[in-house]
Symmetry: C2
Subunit: 367 residues, 2 copies
Amino acid sequence: MTGPRLTPLAAALPASVPFVGPEAQERALGRPFRARIGANESVFGPSPAAIAAMRAAAAEAWKYGDPECFDLRGALAGRHGVARDNIVVGEGIDGLLGYLVRLLVAPQTPVVTTAGSYPTFNYHVVGHGGRLAAVPYRDDRVESAALADAARATGAPLVFLANPDNPTGSWIPAEEIIRLLDALPEGCLLCLDEAYADFAPPGALPPIDADDPRVIRMRTFSKAHGLAGLRVGYAIAEAGLAAAFNKVRNHFGVGRVAQAGAMAALGDNAWVDSVVARVAEARARIAETAAANGLRALPSATNFVALDTGRDGAFARRLLQALAERGVFVRMGFAPPQDRCIRVTAGTAADLDAFAAALPEALAALG
Amino acid sequence: MTGPRLTPLAAALPASVPFVGPEAQERALGRPFRARIGANESVFGPSPAAIAAMRAAAAEAWKYGDPECFDLRGALAGRHGVARDNIVVGEGIDGLLGYLVRLLVAPQTPVVTTAGSYPTFNYHVVGHGGRLAAVPYRDDRVESAALADAARATGAPLVFLANPDNPTGSWIPAEEIIRLLDALPEGCLLCLDEAYADFAPPGALPPIDADDPRVIRMRTFSKAHGLAGLRVGYAIAEAGLAAAFNKVRNHFGVGRVAQAGAMAALGDNAWVDSVVARVAEARARIAETAAANGLRALPSATNFVALDTGRDGAFARRLLQALAERGVFVRMGFAPPQDRCIRVTAGTAADLDAFAAALPEALAALG
């Protein structure tokens, strides 16, 4: 008996996944991590207002969420000074990236990104049969001019740029984004992943012009708002492009509890401010710990810090494992040469104490 | 300036959506519905244990959910007597249908379903460029032999069958499903949507053989478990097919709060039993109200009842509007001739009082 007849594209896809969760590592280790500072989650948690809203919504979880996310889109539009029709809400940025790629990428479509940047974007491109043209980082920063060159050379309809960047934590100034937009060929869309926008320094985020058809910006409640486990992201785009998501999205994919939590989180600016401040302290502490152990902290505009081991990816991988065995979950760069770095998320004082204790032991164990 | 370059498939897709939410109707009407009995949600709510679990998880919503849904898949495997590797968890059955279609349907791929059955399946098929071959209902029941005939005639790799069915509420016996599997051509997969399984009479659900590569079964926490607003569905499939979902799914798409709520709901059998009993009472009451107003209730194996207006789709649509104006949200069949029926979800006593009051008024208003 033969099995189901997958499409040729699906049959050829690798079974690999973008990220293995810390829970899988905990199961392999046989014990929970003491410090969960690897997935760039916000250890400081959601706003108390968001927690209260989720708890209140729990009893109403029998109702589907509004498939139009009308209220949330309205609140987001107000926040960003755009129209509701410029906002698309989806199942995290990951979900929105999948829809965007599906809209723009057919088999053999060229797509431009930075080699070693956010792998889930690549996962979606490969999953739709696209051909990735990946330009290298330059000094651990995205090189926007090279992205534009690659877009012209390949004729790509889509360019990906995370600013601030994951996994390096680096950022480029708004003027450079604007120059990139002007340098892109006609009809090429920039997907500007701003998941870490709340942590960015002044001047990293270009002003939002929602009528600009050259760019779609992705934001999330998973980082500064501390709601990674709810799965709510959104895109800001020209209304025609935003409407095109209705052709392919899972219309009821963002549930009632998620919409309620996100709405309340959006209303608590003070919480985000306090998280940003604590993240800044944590970044400084991570850099101190790194320096004390001979590792260099890369400048960060995010809620994590990439630490240069001065060695290679194989070493970083062993260091990750040695830290995991000591109860500390961190991650590393996704491709050479950034895979020489480990990536440490801003943690609580207890998390960073655990990291500070484990790092020298782990380094010593590696010799 | 030209806009983004959508793929030819995406550019050609209609902007239509499978369902308009009741919230959109409430916004149009300018007031909330008194009775929300149109989306086959469980008005009886989630299990108190599920509510408590969601509330407890709210403070932990800063953590991504386990992308492998390991614990939930394990619990579901135990429930169904299959292996964890036979279970795929996704963002509701809607999300899983999307992934399944993406795995099996390329442009021009023929796909078989029943004309007027669950439209979100069709949405996904059209969205991936597939060609729908839709066979008619027979006496408001799915005709499985016609599905097999169409699969042979078209060479479809995928056949959809909802049992119990939406929107008719009808069901076919397990033996007929088994005969259908035997009649399908080699390599053709049956997608058996069992969203309403908990309400089905004995004998409607074939025994589960998770090693059978000819069938994938879809279940959900949105109906009897009362968690439509959490977005958790699952599929039971041969392990190789289940693993293929990892090629395309949004790995972090089912969040921590959702997994926690579903786990607790799964553990509360007494709650599901009580919901099923209350749904049976509500169905009887809906049928009584229908009969008192000259409408015929179709037999139902679900948490809703299709009421035959004895007229056509245009009449049913006007009746829906007249009911909506009287504060009652219900839906109707999706295609002729089932669109002559309105579809009323099992409600609380108050919901059904409102329906009983509104129906004669609405009918009278239509003349």
